[in-house]
Assembly symmetry: C2
Homo-oligomer: 531 residues x 2
């Protein structure tokens, strides 16, 4: 109703004198002014912007920010000043987890569901219906959702679920994905970030690594080379010396101009291809590490890390420049442990030593494979420079971000396993006993490694049980006193061993988690509590 | 100011009795209700949604909608029921123009500037600094902006300008590009639609045609094939039988869900790769044309047209379903005349007969190369089924769309040549005398064709002059009585010939338009009025 009609309407129903008319006029005028100054847009911007800054394959110690009680030599090697800044402005989590490899973590993040339950327990192939497991002599493949996540029901071999970005989008957020997606195989809906709740997608596709990080190589868009890993959407930088990490950062920040100008809250999933193989040198940063005497692969890796850190700095700088830094939450994390297989053009040093004191690395259910760097900056809420030992896991991002965005009522196809971290962020010292399960019942690499190939694990409080499906052996570690998982305590704490075996088995049974079979008998691998 | 404080404030400054207080309460309550029901979002949505539905290389007669006074056999051959529907709901333009090839038209559309002035007078290569002209024995290359359009100053060989999507974006529109972009070469900002004012880009890149229209061929994303024309961003449909036109339509409509739900006006540039070569069959539609006895290339072409028309129908259906059809303007057009070179896997029939009665086709400054199908549906404004003979050109889209969006004040780097069509749309019979210039001073094909290679042209009222730079000959036609440009009237109307020569030359001089040189003398080709 416009003011003119309102005034006429009021004149008609109420008998008033001229003086009163004037007063009503004043009320109307003031109210109209107040409407203009407190527009719907401003109400909307009270919801915070949220950025998930996801790094690929970055190890727990591959940063100058120590996530352990001690600052290791590794922490001293890497240079990540912007992560330091972020940690100083936010809260550091020393017991944060993901899954042993990427797609399971990415699906858990978007759906809030444990990998053992969503059954996307391995990385997905860029090609549909293509099992990425390696063939094993002893064990036959577990049946898993090898096509990844799907927003559509009844797509074979997918996990059908509601993603949190789709809920953010319906509630008015501007949702952006930039970088590595890897949620599903080509030929299925999950390969397309637009189907998973994102309004903008730059370079997100079905592949899990870039063909090349180099602008000079058009990020792999070169005739006569395989195209599935060639990074899309960045032709602007083809032929230039713009490193992929830099190009993705620039494109990500471009997308935020419009929502910031229009006062719309945004969610940005800035998901770097770095620091995944191929370990190509980021020429802006590699010299320092070569000068330190590092092997070229290790120097390249460190340059990838520093380039990623520069991206984080650019994001923080942009937010400040746009005056939305005090209104933007940043969640920094990796999608699994650091890569620890050595070989030609991959990591140097002896295999599985890269994440010490953590055991093993990517692909393993030991701490080296699943423990990740995790920092949350939430201006006005997270205490600056706070540190918490509260255990959290990638599944927690879903309910956490919903709570951050103030979305209380929503429905999802799946039941959510994650717990919101908001209470922990408000009170870092909170008692937050949790049970986490890792389930990786397939052959990831041709050669078994520590905790690698056909393993499950469970952490409850400080205790962690490792179950090796090949030989049926369960190990037990107390992480509080033995973060390196060196002293198997299974013989000394049979009750705890039994409890964890039973807890792990119950969950795997309840979730009908994929299990391999013994080829010799064609029988399914037993649950740990059956042994 | 919230109602509580407002009420207290009013109580303090005005001495009122209880009865009056109650009345003020009523006013406040009613006003607050009216704020909620007419939220800022609803105010914003009063601005119309705008869709430019752009077809690539579609000829003037390649549709069942006749744009001439007569319905030709060609009109009877093609089946485009959704174009018929659009024409019935909107206004048909019988004298609409673009440039002889695609990039010049696309740059003119986005910038409102005549191609002779923006100097992007040929199609741009996907590769930077790569002149796409063919080498000629007689003529040396004109210097032109071979890298296309740029939003950034001082990029070599580009036209630096403000695009209308960037103005729509700043004014609160949600701006989306889907399909063929081809505004600039890789390695320059113009290759990236995000730089040209689009908030979303799906499959827009530096290449001018798709590697393949077939989902079965992953739209060209096949190892060991050239990648620059492989269509990006559509992995969801890889390996499926989804034709490219269909995939782009589905993706385009997905992007509109959020702005419609959030009440934000949108601008969609749905820019089909169809009906450009390669002429691959759209299997949903090709049978009819083969059954009619068409040669396979022609049948494929007709199926591409019908698939494009199906896309238009899907868009209109979607808008109705979402209840925004009465609030959405659709501008339908092609970017140049129909392709008329015959050969293997391209068009059949004799070359340059495909657009009869129009002379020649794509690449030519004769009508066959520049006259395009053009329809505007503007619910409530454009009279249903209206037809206008008013001449319009692709440069007009910029000011037209600005006026449609209600954006009156804006500044641009470039001066705009186009005129808003809004008056014509309101009054189709309006006298709208215009002067249009086409300037294509390069070698497009190895073999000269009618009006093809080193030509300029000017239309003023019904008169059109064709200038052939090779031999300095100017022809003069009266389009009103001779749409086929068959009867050169230059000998009979020397005054008009002189006026048009002079007008064309003046513009080319004023705009420092690129001109080729004669290799033998190294002298620039003379302006027509110098001969």
């Amino acid at each position: 109703m416009n003011p003119y009609f309102m005034s006429r309407f009021l004149n008609r129903i109420i008998s008033i004198n001229k003086h009163m008319k004037k007063m009503i006029g004043v009320v109307v005028a003031i109210l109209l002014l107040s409407i203009h100054s407190s527009s719907a847009q401003k109400i909307v911007t009270k919801r915070p912007n949220i950025i998930v800054f996801l790094v690929d394959d970055m190890g727990w110690l591959d940063t100058s920010v120590p996530f352990w009680t001690n600052k290791t030599n590794q922490n001293k090697l890497f240079r990540t000043p912007n992560m330091e800044q972020l940690a100083a402005e936010g809260m550091k989590f020393t017991n944060a987890y993901a899954n042993p490899v990427c797609t399971p973590s990415r699906v858990s993040m978007l759906t809030g569901v444990s990998a053992a339950k969503h059954h996307v327990i391995n990385w997905t192939s860029p090609f549909k219906n293509n099992n990425t497991d390696n063939v094993d002599e002893q064990m036959g493949s577990a049946k898993w959702n090898m096509n990844g996540l799907s927003n559509v029901a009844d797509i074979p071999f997918t996990f059908h679920a509601t993603t949190f970005p789709s809920l953010l989008k319906s509630s008015g957020y501007f949702t952006v994905h930039v970088g590595k997606a890897h949620w599903g195989s080509s030929g299925t809906p999950g390969s397309n970030p637009y189907n998973l709740g994102f309004m903008v997608n730059i370079s997100g596709q079905s592949s899990g690594h870039p063909q090349s990080y180099l602008g000079e190589e058009n990020y792999g868009n070169v005739p006569l080379k395989p195209t599935i890993q060639a990074v899309s959407d960045l032709q602007e930088y083809h032929g230039s010396n713009t490193f992929l990490t830099e190009a993705l950062t620039k494109e990500a920040l471009k997308t935020l101009d419009a929502p910031i100008q229009q006062g719309q809250p945004f969610f940005l999933h800035l998901s770097h291809y770095a620091v995944h193989v191929p370990l190509q040198a980021d020429s802006r940063f590699v010299k320092r590490y070569l000068d330190m005497g590092l092997d070229s692969a290790e120097a390249n890796y460190a340059s990838l890390v520093e380039g990623m850190d520069k991206s984080l700095g650019d994001v923080m700088h942009y937010l400040k420049e746009k005056k939305v830094d005090q209104h933007t939450i940043i969640l920094f994390m990796s999608d699994n442990g650091g890569f620890s297989l050595s070989g030609k053009r991959i990591r140097a040093k002896e295999s599985h030593t890269q994440n010490l004191p953590l055991k093993a690395g990517k692909g393993s259910v030991y701490e080296g494979g699943v423990r990740i760097p995790f920092i949350v900056k939430w201006p006005g809420i997270a205490q600056k420079g706070a540190v918490t030992d509260a255990p959290v896991i990638v599944d927690d991002l879903f309910p956490t971000i919903m709570e951050m965005a103030g979305i209380k009522k929503y429905s999802t196809i799946q039941s959510i396993d994650g717990k919101s971290m908001v209470d922990v962020i408000r009170k870092p010292a909170i008692n937050n006993e949790r049970t986490f399960i890792w389930h990786y019942p397939v052959k990831w690499t041709n050669t078994d490694g520590p905790g690698i190939n056909f393993h499950s694990a469970i952490r409850k409080g400080n205790w962690k049980l490792i179950y090796n499906m090949r030989n049926g052996v369960s190990e037990l570690y107390n992480l509080k006193e033995d973060i390196g998982e060196l002293n198997d305590r299974s013989n000394y704490f049979p009750e705890i061993l039994k409890e964890l075996k039973s807890s792990l088995s119950d969950s795997l049974r309840k979730w009908s988690s994929p299990m391999p079979v013994f080829k010799s008998t064609n029988k399914t691998v037993p649950m740990p509590d059956e042994l």
